[in-house]
């Protein structure tokens, strides 16, 4: 495997992303608004229990954000190639299917993770600043958030990318692909609602359970995708 070829493909995608306003909006503006907006909301609250509930829920929200971001990027990067009919010349170059898939994964994964790390850092610093007086301690950093950012966010990003490979094989426009990609968010949003309404609480055990579930689904999708992302199928069955 020549990793540099995957990187060539990924950087080509970055160049294309930079030219699409919608991608830049979803990728940068949306998480930035959330990361600044949520602490601002917290600054007007004075009940420590409510504040902790929301801080947990918001921490968890970065998993959902990772899914939205990766889905947007992956649908452009994978479905985009299908729509532009560029997969055929691309596959005619001396790259392997694996190098191509890795390139596509990197181009959707890296910007998503990069933006989430920067924005979550802003979120954590601002949140600490506005809640320190009420809580009496610094809520962040904490172990849950570490697990979320270091494991759950990357795993959910990869899950979302893999789902988009399957979707890209079957649909022909980015909007439909995005809508189908959003289906993946439903279970995660369900959990989020349980968290904000304090029906469930977020603790390290829950976070680890979510991570375990993500690993399993990632593996299942990886197995499923093996034949989907294979040159013969890409050129003859992706309709």
């Amino acid at each position: 495997m020549k990793l540099w070829k995957s990187w060539v493909i990924a950087t080509k995608d970055f160049n294309i992303f930079l030219k699409k306003k919608r991608i830049l909006y979803t990728l940068i503006i949306l998480p930035l608004l959330i990361s600044v907006g949520l602490p601002v909301m917290l600054s007007s609250m004075d009940n420590p229990i409510e504040i902790i509930t929301l801080l947990d829920a918001f921490s968890y929200f970065y998993i959902i954000l990772a899914i939205i971001q990766s889905s947007t990027l992956a649908s452009y990067s994978i479905l985009g190639e299908k729509i532009e009919q560029s997969l055929e010349p691309l596959l005619a170059t001396p790259i392997t299917d694996g190098e191509l898939l890795l390139g596509k994964t990197i181009s959707s994964f890296l910007p998503c993770i990069g933006v989430i790390y920067v924005c979550s850092l802003i979120f954590m610093v601002l949140s600490d600043a506005v809640t320190y007086n009420t809580l009496g301690y610094l809520f962040f950093p904490n172990l849950k958030m570490a697990f979320i950012l270091l494991l759950a966010v990357p795993l959910s990003s990869i899950l979302s990318i893999q789902l988009n490979v399957i979707i890209s094989a079957r649909v022909n426009d980015v909007r439909t692909a995005n809508q189908l990609g959003l289906l993946l968010e439903i279970p995660f949003i369900g959990v989020y609602i349980l968290l904000v309404t304090n029906i469930a609480t977020l603790n390290v055990i829950n976070v680890l359970a979510i991570i375990a579930a993500l690993i399993l689904t990632d593996l299942a999708f990886f197995y499923l995708n093996k034949s989907t992302f294979q040159r013969d199928n890409i050129l003859t069955k992706w309709k």
Partner: protein, 306 residues
């Protein structure tokens, strides 16, 4: 250089390529002619290692297309112009080519030189920094040809290279292919354009799921009929026809004032014909030879199948 033996590809129940066998030598330009849906693109995709075959054997420059590591080697020495250009609309012409140059493992210097060379040759150098999305169809087609050549491949697969091109651009591309022929590149050309095939190709295969005929353009033309003589008269009268019918000729057709006559040996038969017509009071204006065209051969061969 390109060798297929008993090549078959099925899509479910549909057989797109049936038991195709052929051999193309190094430096040869091979024209693959056939109607829509004949399986030309499918064949090209198999030969370039893009899709798998159901049966048979294919070797390109001695490498086996179905072997994974061979297939990578094949793709390094092969250039492909696919049916759909598949360029990136959001990138400039230069960036499109540079991206492919990298994937073909060309060095920075090679890329720089080759991009400049081909863009200049195809008249796109001034447009190198324009987004491909703003290109016309013909410009895109030319850019895709440059892309196929970026790594200086030994073998070229061109799927209808002059589709979408105006007559002048077609000529540019055709001359360009002739230059590549001079450089001894092996070229496999899918086309509907018989005139083009005749002008460029050393060898032609007429294909409709199965290979129907194969040979040089001249061999194919001659397979249709050997010779016809056209005699144009002031007037074709019954007396003349009667006189001709008494001669041992196989086939005479008339249209307006013209007689079209199959002759097996023109040098011997034509004077006899002319004498007979004059003897019957005919006034001859022109005597010409009607040579079969590649189109005649193509249509005859393709229709024979139906």
């Amino acid at each position: 250089m390109i060798e297929a033996r008993n090549l078959t590809r099925k899509f479910g129940d549909l057989t797109a390529v049936d038991n195709l066998t052929f051999h193309i030598k190094p430096g040869e330009v091979f024209g693959f002619l056939g109607p829509n849906g004949a399986g030309k693109t499918t064949t090209m995709r198999i030969l370039t290692g893009l899709i798998s075959k159901t049966e048979g054997e294919v070797r390109i420059a001695g490498y086996d297309v179905s072997d994974e590591s061979d297939s990578l080697k094949i793709r390094k020495i092969v250039g492909l112009l696919p049916e759909n250009v598949g360029l990136y609309d959001d990138l400039t012409a230069y960036r499109n080519l540079d991206f492919y140059g990298k994937l073909y493992e060309c060095s920075r210097i090679e890329r720089k030189e080759n991009i400049a060379h081909f863009l200049k040759l195809l008249g796109l150098w001034d447009k190198r920094d324009v987004r491909v999305g703003n290109f016309s169809k013909g410009m895109k087609q030319k850019l895709a040809i440059a892309r196929a050549l970026i790594h200086d491949p030994e073998i070229l697969f061109l799927d209808e290279p002059t589709a979408n091109l105006d007559p002048e651009s077609s000529k540019t591309v055709r001359d360009f292919i002739l230059d590549l022929k001079e450089e001894k590149k092996t070229i496999f050309l899918n086309t509907h354009n018989l005139d083009e095939a005749q002008r460029i190709c050393d060898k032609i295969g007429i294909f409709n799921t199965k290979l129907m005929a194969m040979g040089t353009p001249q061999e194919l033309e001659e397979s249709v009929w050997s010779n016809k003589t056209v005699i144009e008269l002031e007037e074709v009268t019954d007396t003349i026809l009667e006189a001709l019918n008494n001669l041992p000729l196989s086939n005479i057709t008339t249209s307006n004032n013209k007689l079209i006559i199959d002759v097996s040996d023109p040098q011997k038969d034509n004077p006899i014909l002319v004498d007979a017509i004059i003897g019957a009071g005919g006034r001859i204006q022109y005597v010409t030879r009607l040579s079969p065209t590649l189109e005649d051969a193509y249509l005859k061969i393709v229709r024979r199948d139906q």
